[in-house]
């Protein structure tokens, strides 16, 4: 039985308070780092741990830190990405609402390692409780001397404040997040230059997902080797999986990376609700291609999911049973992406809208035979032709559903209605 690491305090009463965090071993990594480690040693430890970003892309965290310029004269920033909005994902909300100090400790250590004196929390505007929890936690961390001038008597100072977003999924993309922090429309920037060189106000900036930062205190406390021993060689550490859809027990489950989809669905989520048959799984949030029941033994790790033609993404598993209409699912996903397209790149702005029109038409039983190739054409016209990954994210699940469930699209067009859900 795997012992939770990141969510170990989440079930405790008043788990969001600094007292409960400290009574359970919190804020012990920070003094250790400030007294015993140089910034470079911290970066080396994080590289050795094998920690990869938990926000979707899975970039090695330590390497990201090492890209930040070493020049102490250059002002640098750290941003905490709490703009969780990928459909199916609700892990960051859990961590922020139930154990915010774990993340703050991670932010302080990361800022020390990269030489930033200023850090920002960017939180999506809808998370009202999250905003309140962040503010209270930051206040309490200041009061205990973990934030502010000369932290714990060291030379290191750090200020942290909360910046509330205002409803835009795209601001979870790191350069869009930076634009929004600057008070602009959240339209992603062209990369390169990467934020590690040119970020917030043109200064080197490290942007990390909440869950990524929550790992840091544990890596410091228990060592890189211990951390690397969890999970698979290429996907180290624990992962908070979010399960939703047609399972008995929906919710968050913290398990080692590399746990199979079967174990997560059948053991942890209690199996399929109403004993229905499994039809398809979205393994990593709305922007990841679907898997079929035959692929259910795939381990949930970066490399294995990539080999299976999909992605770990945010680890948000959406389970769909035999009664699910896949055209309806595709339409819903596309409605989300068409709504959230920032509008900067024409292929994404116009393409997602056109794909949505077609999917709505097919779903309503008004589809034409040429609609399927037309969808594929549009998808290929969007893919790889946008500044940020939203374009790819929008078309990949649709292309996978067109490949896996083409007959359902054809049925909709032929019979002018849905035959999958049993009822007309």
């Amino acid at each position: 039985m795997f012992e939770p690491i990141l969510t170990r305090n989440c079930g405790l009463p008043r788990s969001e308070t600094i007292d409960v965090y400290m009574a359970n071993g919190g804020y012990q990594a920070l003094p250790k780092v400030l007294r015993e480690c140089t910034p470079d040693q911290v970066i080396e430890t994080v590289i050795a741990s094998g920690l990869r970003g938990r926000g979707g892309a899975g970039f090695p965290a330590g390497r990201k830190w090492s890209f930040m310029p070493k020049d102490p004269q250059v002002e640098k920033y750290v941003c905490v990405n709490t703009d969780e909005g990928e459909p199916g994902t609700f892990k960051d909300r859990e961590l922020v609402e139930k154990d915010p100090h774990q993340i703050i400790e991670g932010v302080i250590i990361a800022s020390y390692a990269v030489g930033a004196k200023r850090a920002f929390v960017y939180i999506r505007g809808e998370f009202f409780l999250g905003v309140k929890r962040w503010i209270k936690a930051i206040d309490d961390a200041y009061a205990k001397g973990f934030l502010g001038k000369n932290i714990l008597g060291s030379e290191f100072s750090l200020d942290l404040s909360v910046h509330r977003g205002a409803g835009a999924y795209i601001c979870g993309e790191e350069t869009a997040l930076i634009e929004s922090l600057e008070g602009k429309r959240g339209e992603p920037r062209k990369k390169p230059p990467y934020p590690a060189n040119v970020g917030l106000w043109g200064k080197p900036t490290l942007v990390h997902n909440v869950e990524t930062l929550a790992n840091i205190p544990h890596i410091i406390n228990r060592g890189a080797q211990w951390y690397a021993s969890i999970g698979t060689p290429k996907s180290a550490g624990p992962k908070i999986f979010c399960i939703s859809g047609h399972v008995r027990n929906r919710g968050v489950f913290e398990l080692p990376l590399g746990t199979t989809l079967r174990e997560i669905i059948e053991e942890h989520a209690g199996g399929m609700a109403f004993d229905k048959k499994l039809k398809a799984v979205i393994p990593g949030g709305a922007s990841t291609p679907m898997l079929t029941p035959e692929q259910i033994d795939t381990p949930m790790a970066f490399e294995t999911l990539e080999a299976a033609g999909t992605m770990l993404g945010t680890g948000a598993i959406i389970v769909m049973n035999e009664d699910t209409c896949m055209v309806d699912v595709a339409r819903r996903l596309m409605r989300f992406f068409a709504h959230e397209s920032c509008g900067r790149c024409v292929p994404c702005r116009v393409g997602t809208r056109r794909m949505l029109d077609i999917l709505e038409r097919v779903e309503a039983g008004k589809g034409k035979a040429e609609d399927i190739p037309h969808l594929e054409d549009l998808a290929n016209g969007i893919r790889g032709r946008t500044f940020c990954p939203l374009g790819d994210a929008a078309v990949n699940p649709i292309l996978s559903s067109l490949r896996l469930f083409r007959n359902e699209y054809e049925d909709h067009i032929k019979h002018k209605r849905c035959t999958a859900m049993g009822s007309p």
Binding site: F90, I135, G167
Partner: protein, 162 residues
């Protein structure tokens, strides 16, 4: 303290310079404050924000139209936002609840009831997929919603305005 004013919260002396309200970074916060004071971003509110931050009015409108939590039209006292994300839909939320509210309140999504109490809206994922279906009412989140729970909620909210 209102969480709306968060950006100016933990600033040290020298940073007040960077974060002078006249600076661009305060725009999101300024729009929240204006919206709270005016109820929605009226032309007057937008004008004031623009003047205060030294920005063109068009630039401020451009922000207000980009971010979905800013409103340029009046709403009811309570904005009922029904999540139409995939995970809410799979467990019978989304359409079911929207339909129910549509009939119950006799409004279409985007409209406000005649008494000015409720505005019905559909929104994208609220990150409540494990406790779906979800409805957000102003700043509060209601999870595992059913028709009965919607009835109770409406009853409670109406009770505040008798």
């Amino acid at each position: 303290m209102s969480p709306l004013a968060t950006a100016s919260r933990h600033l040290s002396g020298e940073e007040v310079q960077i974060f002078d309200p006249a600076k661009r970074s305060m725009l999101l916060t300024a729009l929240y404050i204006a919206q709270e004071q005016y109820g929605y971003l009226t032309p007057d509110a937008v004008d004031r924000v623009a003047k205060r931050l030294g920005l063109p009015v068009t630039e401020v409108y451009s922000m207000a139209s980009f971010y979905s939590l800013y409103r340029t039209k009046p709403t009811g006292r309570y904005v009922l936002q029904v999540c139409e994300g995939l995970s809410c839909h799979l467990v019978g939320g989304a359409e079911g609840l929207v339909d129910y509210l549509r009939r119950k309140l006799a409004v279409q999504p985007g409209q406000t009831t005649k008494d000015g109490l409720f505005t019905l809206e559909t929104v994208q994922c609220l990150a409540s997929c494990g406790t779906s279906p979800a409805i957000r009412v102003n700043d509060a989140l209601y999870e595992n919603m059913t028709a009965e729970k919607v009835d109770e909620l409406l009853e409670t909210l109406r009770g505040y305005h008798v």
